[in-house]
Subunit: 500 residues, 2 copies
C-alpha cells in the first residue's frame, strides 16, 4: 500500500492551502486595512488556482483510482473508504471547472465583497449591481458545466447539500409556508410582549463579556478559537484546532449579539468536535451546510431562546447590566427574546418568520439565475416579495436586497441550507430528548455537557464522512428531514407564549 | 514576446502565496489561539513547499532563460532586467535546496517559535535547546549546499544581504568596536541623566494612541496598514498595499513602545513607498535587510531620539500623560531617551551600545554554526560575552540568550544587518541633509514630508531592483558603507549630551 499514503500527504497539503485561504478570508472580514482589498482578491484567487490545479492535476485521477483499490477491503464506514468517496466526488466536480473560471470566481467574489460592503453602508444598490451581474453570470457558467439538470440551481444546491435539488426543495418549502402563515396569523392576533427594555444602552464590552461567558459554558474552547468583530458574523476554521467566530455588537440590541455568538458558537462546536484523525483532510468539515446550520440553529434557538437557559443566565445578565435590566426578570427576557414579529433582517428574525426570509431569498435566486428577473429589477422584486412573505417592506436596500453577504461571495444556493438546518435542529433535539430525557433541568443548571456529548458522539465526530442522508440516519435513525418536528415545536412553544 | 509575460503571471502567483504565508505568520504572532500552533506549522510548511516546488519546477530555468532573452535589449535598470537578475539569483539558490529541507525548515521553525515563546516566558532554556539544536543542524545542512565558502555563515549572510561575508564583516565590526568602547567609557565617566519619571504608570491605551498619532504624522497610511500587539515587535507585508506593524506595551516604559512603533513604522514606510509597478514580484521588497534596517533605525534614532522631534511632540505627550509628566520638560525627555547605559535587551538599547549587542549575537552565531560552541554551553557563553561586550550579565536566560525571536525562526546571519542598517542610517541622513539642508526645523514643526520624499524618491521607490551596493550608490553616491558617518554622529551628539 503506497498510493493511499501518498494521496493522504497530497490532500493534507491541499487542505493546508484551504486553511490558508480561510485565514485570508477571515482577515479580510476582520482586520484587513481598507486599501488592501484588491491585492487580497488576487491572493485568494491564486490560492484557489493552486488548489484547483493540484486537485485536477494530470495523474491525480489515476492516483485516486490506485488508492481506492488499496482500501477496497476496508469497511465502508472506515475513514479510508469515506475519504476516497468524498475525494472522487470532489474530483468529478472540480475537473469540470476550467482553471480560468476558478480564478475568475475567486477574484470577482473577493472584489464584490468590498463593493457590497460599501453599497450596504451607503444603501446604494447601484454600487453592487455590476458585481451581482458578473457573479450571476459566473454562477450560470459554473452550473452549465453540470448540465443537464432540471433547474439551474441544482448544481449550486449540490455544492452545499449533497444531492439537494429544487425538485426536492420546492414542495418542502411550500408545505412549510402553508403551516407557518396561519401560525403567524394567530400570533399576530394575540397581544405582543414588551421588549422595549432591551433597547436601552447596553455597553458593548459588557455584551462581549457576557457572550464569552456563555460560549465558555457551552464548551467552546478559547485555546482553539477566539471571537472577533465583523460586519457579518461568521465562523472560520483553519484546521480542527483553530475554529474562530465573529459577532457584531450594537448597544441597543444585546440579544442580537448574544444570539449571533451562540449561533456561531454552535458552528464552531461542530468543527471542534470532529475526530482529530480527520484533520487536514476534506472530511474535517460538517456533513453538509444543512447539518452545520442544524448545530448553530439548535444552540441559538432550542438552547438560547429557551426558558431554562434564561433561568440559568438571567442573574448574570442583570449583574452585567444592572441599569437597563433593573425592572426586568427571567420571564420578561424569555418573552422578549421570543417576540414574533415580521422584521426585515434575516439574521435577527424570530423562529417563526425566519424560514420565510430564507424562502424569499431562494425564490429570488431561482428567478435571477433563470433570467426571469433582471439585476436592475431585483431591489423592487425583493421589496415586493418582502411584502408578500412578511407583510412589510424595507425602506432602503441596505435593509432589503443588500443585507446579506452571501451573494457578494458568489454563494447562490446557500440560503436554503439555513431552513434545512432549522428543520434538522428540531429533529435532532427531539432525538436527544428521546434518548437523554428532557433537557430542561440540565439547561437550567447551565450543564450543557450531556447535550454536547450527544451531539459530539452522534454527529460531530464523523465530520463529513457520510452523506447528509446517511448522517441523518446515524443521528436520528431516519433518512428524511421531517418538518413536523419543527412545526410541532413551534406550535407548542408559541401557543404557550401567546396564549392561544 | 510571450515568455516574459507568462513568467510575470507565474511569479505574481508565487508572490501571492508568499503574502499568504506572511499573513499566516502575522496571525501566528498576534491573534492565533494557543493550541493551533502545530497545525499552523504544517500550513506554513505546505506553503513553503508549494512555493519552492514552483520556483524550481522542471522547465522553470528554461522559461527564465527565454524571458531573459526577450528583455535583453531593455535598459539595465529597467524593471524587466532587474527582475530577471533577481529571479536568476533566487533560482540559483532555491534549486540547490531539496524540497524535504524546505519543508523541514518551515515546520521546525514554526514549532520552535512556540517552544521559544514558552521558554522565554518561563526563562527555561532547556525547553528551547532541542529546537535550537535542530535549527542549527538545518542551517548547517543548508549552508553546506553552497560550499565551498570561507565561513559557514557566508551563505546565510548572503540571504539577508547580497554578497555579505564574514571576511567583510569581521574587520568592520572590530573597527567599530574599537571606537565604541572608548566613547562608552567617556560616557560612563560622566554624570547620568535622570529617567526615573519614565518609570511611572503610563496607561497602555494612551501609549498606543500617542504612537498612532506619531505614525500618522510620519506618513504611515492606516488605510494600508495597522498596528497590533505581539511579544516581539515586527513588520509584515502582504503586498504593497498592506504593510502592518506590531508593538508591545509596558506601563512603565512608554518610550520603549513609542520607539518600537517608530522603528517598525520606518520599515513599513519603506515598503509602502515602493513603486506599485513592482507589486506581486520579488522586487516588492527592500534592497536588503541592511537597507531595511537603515530605514527603521533612521526613524527610530535620527528622528525619534532627536531634540527637535521632542520639541514637536512633548506637548502632546504630556497632554496624554499629565500625571507622570507633570514635572518633566522637553529637555528632560530628550536626555532620558538618550541615556547611555549598558543594558540587557537589544531592542531597548541606546544608540551607543546597540551595535555591541549585535556583535555579541554574531559572535555566538559563528561559534554555534562552526561547532566551536555547543548548545548546552550557549547560555553561559552568552552571559560571558555580555560581560565582555557590555559589562553586565543577565540574571536569567529570558534576558539573555532567549530574548530574541530570530534563532527560533531559523534566522542565523540576520543580526549583522541591524548593525549595517544603523551605519547606513547615519550615512543616508548625512546625504539627506547635504541635499535638503539641516532637517531640524522640519522635525521641530512635525513636517516629515521633505525627509520622506527624499527617502522615497532615492531609496524606497526602487524596492529590490538593485544590489545593496548599487542601491547605496544611488542613494549616497558611494559604494561602501562608511562607519565614520555613524561614529561622527555619535561623537557629536553624545559629547554635547554628556558634556565632554
Amino acid at each position: 500500500m503506497n498510493a493511499f499514503p501518498a494521496l493522504l500527504a497530497e490532500i493534507a497539503l491541499i487542505q493546508d492551502l484551504r486553511s490558508a485561504a480561510a485565514l485570508l478570508d477571515w482577515d479580510h472580514q476582520t482586520y484587513m486595512p481598507r486599501n488592501a482589498a484588491e491585492d487580497r482578491a488576487s491572493q485568494l484567487a491564486s490560492l484557489a488556482s493552486v488548489i484547483h490545479e493540484r486537485e485536477t492535476a494530470p495523474g491525480y485521477a489515476k492516483h485516486l483510482e490506485a488508492a481506492e483499490k488499496e482500501v477496497a477491503d476496508f469497511p465502508p464506514d472506515s475513514l479510508e473508504r469515506c475519504l476516497v468517496r468524498v475525494l472522487k466526488r470532489n474530483f468529478e466536480k472540480e475537473s469540470r471547472v476550467p482553471a480560468s473560471l476558478v480564478r475568475e470566481l475567486a477574484e470577482t467574489s473577493a472584489n464584490a465583497h468590498h463593493a457590497w460592503a460599501e453599497a450596504r453602508e451607503t444603501s446604494d444598490f447601484s454600487l453592487f449591481a455590476p458585481f451581482l451581474e458578473r457573479l450571476l453570470d459566473l454562477a450560470r457558467r459554473y452550473a452549465a458545466l453540470f448540465a443537464p439538470y432540471r433547474n439551474i440551481c441544482d448544481p449550486l444546491l449540490d455544492n452545499y447539500e449533497e444531492g439537494l435539488t429544487a425538485q426536492h426543495l420546492d414542495p418542502l418549502f411550500s408545505g412549510l409556508q402553508e403551516k407557518l402563515v396561519p401560525l403567524l396569523r394567530k400570533i399576530a392576533a394575540s397581544p405582543q410582549p414588551d421588549d422595549s427594555f432591551l433597547r436601552e444602552n447596553f455597553d458593548p464590552a459588557g455584551q462581549l463579556r457576557f457572550s464569552a461567558e456563555v460560549l465558555a459554558r457551552m464548551g467552546y474552547d478559547f485555546t482553539r478559537g477566539r471571537q472577533d468583530l465583523s460586519v457579518h458574523p461568521f465562523t472560520a476554521s483553519f484546521g480542527l484546532n483553530d475554529v474562530r467566530i465573529t459577532t457584531r455588537v450594537q448597544p441597543d440590541a444585546p440579544l442580537s449579539s448574544l444570539l449571533s455568538s451562540v449561533h456561531e458558537g454552535g458552528h464552531a462546536l461542530y468543527e471542534l468536535g470532529i475526530d482529530k484523525k480527520l484533520n487536514r483532510t476534506p472530511l474535517a468539515n460538517g456533513a453538509s451546510l444543512g447539518f452545520h446550520e442544524s448545530q448553530s440553529r439548535l444552540w441559538e434557538n432550542l438552547v438560547a431562546r429557551s426558558l431554562p437557559f434564561w433561568e440559568c443566565f438571567f442573574p448574570r445578565f442583570r449583574e452585567i447590566f444592572p441599569g437597563p435590566l433593573a425592572d426586568a426578570d427571567t420571564a420578561a427576557v424569555y418573552r422578549a427574546i421570543n417576540k414574533v414579529t415580521p422584521s426585515l433582517i434575516r439574521t435577527e428574525a424570530d423562529e417563526v418568520t425566519y424560514n420565510l426570509h430564507v424562502m424569499l431569498r431562494y425564490e429570488m435566486e431561482k428567478e435571477l439565475l433563470n433570467g426571469t428577473l433582471s439585476v436592475k429589477d431585483a431591489p423592487d422584486a425583493w421589496n415586493r416579495k418582502s411584502m408578500e412573505y412578511l407583510g412589510i417592506e424595507p425602506g432602503k436596500d441596505s435593509l432589503g436586497i443588500l443585507q446579506d453577504i452571501h451573494w457578494s461571495m458568489g454563494s447562490f444556493g446557500y440560503f436554503p441550507t439555513y431552513a434545512l438546518g432549522t428543520l434538522l435542529s428540531a429533529q435532532i433535539w427531539q432525538t436527544a430528548e428521546k434518548e437523554l430525557g428532557p433537557l430542561d433541568a440540565d439547561l437550567r443548571a447551565g450543564n450543557f455537557a450531556p447535550l454536547l456529548d450527544f451531539l459530539r458522539s452522534r454527529l460531530h465526530v464523523h465530520g463529513a464522512m457520510f452523506t447528509p442522508q446517511e448522517t441523518l440516519r446515524r443521528v436520528c435513525g431516519v433518512t428524511e428531514i421531517d418538518p413536523a418536528c419543527f412545526l410541532g415545536y413551534l406550535e407548542k412553544k408559541y401557543s404557550a407564549l401567546y396564549g392561544f
